[in-house]
């Protein structure tokens, strides 16, 4: 059965972070269940940190960007397989 995929995109050009601070664990790992309000990554642009929320219920399928990599506005960051695990 084909799964629906939700793609999370960056709202702004900046730097992609998988955790909320340099010493913290990644906010999510592939295979993890996520809810709409969950923060899945952070984007830093011009010293302002934006929390990126999942927006959907599902499972983290793929993280498309490496930690601390630059991202463009509207660039795909993560894929979420929709639905309960």
């Amino acid at each position: 059965m084909e799964k629906n995929i939700h793609t999370i995109i960056s709202p702004v050009m900046g730097t992609f972070y998988r955790s909320s601070s340099p010493d913290a664990l990644p906010l999510v790992e592939p295979g993890q269940s996520v809810k709409p309000e969950d923060v899945v990554c952070m984007i830093e642009s011009m010293k302002i940190f934006t929390e990126i929320r999942c927006g959907q219920t599902g499972v983290v399928k793929k993280i498309l960007v490496k930690n601390e990599e630059p991202v463009m506005k509207n660039q795909a960051l993560m894929e979420i397989a929709l639905g309960e695990k």
């Binding site: 050009m13 900046g14 011009m46 010293k47 302002i48 630059p70």
Partner: protein, 448 residues
């Protein structure tokens, strides 16, 4: 001592600003740069340039070892840190000194003492310098809150000990208010931060952010250069500054100036520095913090005093005497600054990095523009959003307002969103034109 070569440990407009003064003084300059700033104007204008790492600040402009190595490699005599980055790092100031370079700023010890905010508050309270009165400890019960409020005087504000952002925050104007507010604020704080603890502070009505620029040499000589009014802020970020302040009369200026110098003496402060105060509607003032560096908004003070603050910083660090007494400091006319940021006022001031496709600069009589941007300049997302400072000088405030409006109209940046159009609206409001401002001005502007 005379410096022959200064390394500028910064980027953007402030790096350019420092290089300009060095060139006028006949001092050679070294720029340091990250991958993102390879083609920047400071790199072009400096006599030498050293690459210190990748775009991320943590790996370049905040990398103390890389900056010290660049200073050593280029045989620099001194390091100017600008603002932000390493400018208020006591360990960096110490590292410069240990490596044999003069740090153009206060001593490491002064930076550390002034930077420890609660210790600084205790030091200054002991000297009788007013700070915002408040409870020293967390308030556990409504009765304890009332006792604390009786001490500091109403109105008071309850704040959550566990976090900020307005949650757990309540203003109370009398005992009855306070009793009602306590349980609500405590519950809100508990829900928001998992910690119901509250503390209490005097609530300052219609506060203005007013700061005093000081200069001090290594021989205990101090002058103040008058005040800057910085009440036009968004989320604690200053956007428009002016000097003098229309709210400050000669008596208050003298009072704030002498208090600022007492604070400087308390910290053995040398070099240029700023003492920040909140001033309430009745002109009571409360110390907030020391900014142990040159500030973004220093040009407005330069414009009304005729002094080059960066030049003074360099001379002081080289061990020269101040050569000024308070009577030499004459404030002339009115200056204003608009911080041109790469952010989008129509989208909640979201950062707006990108390529500037074209730019037309304002100019003419009484206009000063400090900027590192140019046609086809790439505003990267790696550093803060300040891309320029538009300043004007005029004989009085009304003429300064008119000149700024004219200069903003001339200024055109295409390719990215900026704050230019937003400032045009601010300058159109009667409240701003009348100087009727406080730190809540921008939150309330839509109602004007």
């Amino acid at each position: 001592m005379t410096f022959k070569k200064i390394l500028v440990a910064n980027r953007g407009e402030i790096a350019l600003r420092i290089i300009r003064t060095c060139r006028e003084m006949g001092i050679r300059t070294v720029a340091v740069y990250s991958d993102a700033d390879m083609d920047s104007l400071p790199v072009k204008q400096a006599d030498e340039a050293v690459h210190i790492g990748p775009a991320l600040s943590r790996r370049s402009y905040l990398n103390q070892d890389a900056v010290i190595a660049a200073a050593r490699e280029t045989r620099s005599d001194a390091v100017h840190p600008g603002y932000g980055f390493l400018s208020e790092s006591a360990s960096f100031a110490q590292a410069c000194q240990d490596s044999g370079f003069a740090f153009i700023g206060p001593s490491a010890r002064t930076i550390a003492r002034a930077g420890d905010k609660s210790a600084a508050r205790q030091t200054l309270m002991a000297l009788g310098i007013p700070v915002i009165p408040g409870s020293d400890d967390v308030i556990a019960t409504p009765a304890a809150a009332c006792d604390a409020a009786d001490q500091v005087g109403y109105p008071v504000i309850l704040k959550a000990a566990g976090g900020g952002g307005g949650r757990g925050m309540r203003i109370a104007r009398n005992r009855q208010d306070l009793l009602a507010a306590f349980s609500v604020a405590s519950a809100e704080a508990g829900a928001a931060f998992g910690n119901p603890a509250l503390y209490l502070e005097k609530y300052i009505e219609k506060p203005r952010h007013i700061e005093i620029q000081i200069l001090g040499d290594q021989f205990g000589n101090y002058v103040h250069l008058g005040e800057r009014e910085c009440s036009i802020q968004m989320r604690y970020q200053k956007l428009i500054e002016e000097a003098p302040s229309s709210f400050v009369d000669e008596a208050l200026r003298e009072q704030l100036g002498s208090t600022a110098i007492r604070i400087a003496r308390a910290f053995d402060y040398t070099n240029a520095g700023t003492m920040e105060f909140l001033v309430d509607k009745d002109k009571n003032h409360y110390f907030m913090e020391v900014n142990a560096r040159v500030q973004v908004e220093h040009p407005v003070t330069e414009l009304i005093t005729g002094l080059d603050i960066v030049r003074k910083q360099i001379d002081i660090a080289a061990g020269k005497k101040l050569g000024l007494v308070q009577a030499d400091i004459l404030l002339n006319g009115w200056a204003m600054e608009c911080r041109i940021n790469a952010s989008d006022p129509t989208d909640n001031f979201m950062p707006s990095p990108g390529e500037i496709t074209s730019v037309i600069f304002p100019g003419g009589h009484g206009v000063r523009l400090d900027t590192h941007i140019h046609d086809r300049y790439m505003v990267t997302p790696f550093y803060d959003s300040l891309i320029g400072k538009l300043c004007v000088w005029a004989p009085d405030r009304l003429q300064a307002v008119r000149r700024m409006k004219r200069a903003l109209d001339e200024f055109e940046i295409t390719g990215i969103a900026t704050t230019i159009d937003f400032y045009k609206k601010v300058f159109e409001t009667k409240q701003f034109q009348d100087g009727n401002i406080d730190t809540h001005f921008l939150e309330q502007m839509d109602n004007f």
